[in-house]
């Protein structure tokens, strides 16, 4: 590990070198097929500095994040292990953190996780022993103090670059930057935001973040999701809590023929990235192309972020 670095994370090196970072996302399959991961990996190769692997997102059972991370690591990626507190208590969380670090995972994204009520096993018992902020603090204590949550010492410290999420579009808006401040205080090194469609509101949030000086303490990666169709835009607007898709975006997609809506969605994503690049405090983008990984390269190229720096 290099001097002044917290981990062996490629993402950490990119950000600390002052590059505008690009991360991607890979959702594991609903089966035991490693090829599904490799296929997505192939589409993201060379386009991203690191790749998030979701942890049973929307509370739907999928291949575990850690196993999928390992498959991507074998392909040369620097995976970001997403971990939710919904399904694990503090014993399992700390155990998985040690295991991930031992397997050479360098990044973790600490999340609370979607409630299982909207998932595929609404009858499940949830855990929520700790919340995402407490989890950030736990990983930091393990890494920097060599201590478990109970205060006892551990042997080899997990060298992880610690991430957290924030949703500038959830309510109440007036405390969203304060919640970010809590995550920074807990020890987050980087933040990945919810998908941004309402750039105006995102900028208002960023202004508050910058006013608090948080952008100097944490790297902020702005979330981007290309919209495939008007239907997808409407679904996200109406069915996904905390998602803000303005009517202008829907109108713009409606304004082109159905078969061209995907192209328009990609164009919107590119324009959004270009606009966000100019926003003070934004250190990169996190592209979540949901089951549409083949478009990531086009978006990264279109935004002038290709090729990714060798570092």
């Amino acid at each position: 590990m290099k001097e002044g670095f917290k981990s062996n994370s490629r993402l950490e090196r990119i950000l600390k070198a002052g590059h505008f970072a690009v991360t991607g996302e890979c959702g594991p399959p609903r089966g035991a097929d490693p090829e599904a991961i490799r296929k997505k990996g192939e589409l993201l190769k060379g386009c991203v500095d690191a790749v998030n692997v979701t942890d049973c997102q929307t509370a739907v059972v999928r291949m575990s994040s850690l196993s999928s991370c390992l498959i991507l690591k074998e392909m040369g990626f620097d995976p970001i292990l997403q971990m939710v507190t919904r399904d694990r208590n503090r014993i399992a969380i700390q155990s998985d953190i040690l295991g991930a670090a031992a397997l050479g995972i360098n990044n973790i994204l600490c999340l609370t996780g979607d409630h299982q009520k909207a998932g595929d096993h609404p009858q499940a018992k949830n855990v929520f022993d700790i919340d995402s902020i407490q989890m950030v603090a736990a990983v930091k204590a393990m890494r920097d103090e060599g201590k478990f949550m109970n205060g006892e010492e551990l042997t080899v410290r997990p060298r992880l670059f610690i991430g957290a999420a924030e949703n500038p579009f959830a309510d109440p808006f007036e405390i969203r930057h304060l919640r970010l401040a809590k995550k920074v205080k807990a020890g987050a090194d980087f933040i990945q935001t919810q998908c941004i469609f309402n750039v105006k509101r995102f900028k208002e949030w960023m202004k508050r973040v910058v006013d608090m000086g948080l952008h100097e303490k944490v790297f902020i990666l702005a979330g981007i999701t290309p919209l495939k169709s008007v239907g997808m835009a409407r679904y996200m607007k109406n069915m996904v809590p905390g998602m803000d898709v303005p009517d202008e975006v829907i109108e713009r997609l409606k304004g082109v023929p159905k078969e061209k809506q995907g192209e328009e969605g990609v164009r919107i994503a590119i324009e959004t990235i270009q606009e966000l690049k100019e926003v003070e405090g934004v250190h990169g983008v996190h592209i979540m192309a949901i089951e549409w990984e083949e478009k990531v390269r086009e978006i990264v190229e279109g935004a002038g972020l290709f090729p990714r720096p060798e570092i």
């Binding site: 609370t112 700790i130 919340d131 736990a138 309510d171 109440p172 405390i175 401040a181 809590p241």
Partner: protein
Amino acid sequence: MVVGEQKPLEEILEMIEPYDRLILAGCKGCVAVCAAGGEREVRFLASAIKTARKAQGREIEIREVTLERQCDPEYVEQIRPFVGQYQAILSLACGVGVQFMAEHYRQIPALPGLNTTFVGGAERQGVWVERCQCCGQCVLHLTGGICPITRCSKSLLNGPCGGSSNGRCEIDPEVPCGWQLILDRLKELGQLERYLEIIPPKDWSLSRDGGPRKVQREDLMR
């Protein structure tokens, strides 16, 4: 109070199917207040059971009693003089009452006529809402008198999560976001700065997670 809801009649009939002589025991405590297992409900349920059994051509004898409380040995013991004449006790108390019956009368089964749902209160006439999860370590002083363990669907101590939208929870637009309520209240109290403090992980060993709990008061024990 402990809020309960009567089980569907079908389920109760199935449960008491093997028996022809039954004690139907109500409770004058919480479940009477929430109109699930008091004197009135005992009367109605007894009548419904008898009607159903009559239709099946298998009449049933039901002894109706409603005890002061079923969570107190003193009152539970009141049915001892005649319990031997019956084959089962169908209790309309909360789960505590059913278990106290089972502990006291070991020769016959105690059956639950209610689903014990939560510890809560009456929001208005006919509407009861959950307010306490009995976590054993109250944090209401930190959160403006609104319980994050109960009111937040994820029991977050440092919420709200990213699913809070227009004051509503991600699980259901009918459910208010507990953390929106907490923040509104902290603002009313002029304590919004409290929000910046990170509340540390909770000690769940004081909750049910630590195993069945017991409160022991030496000063009251004889």
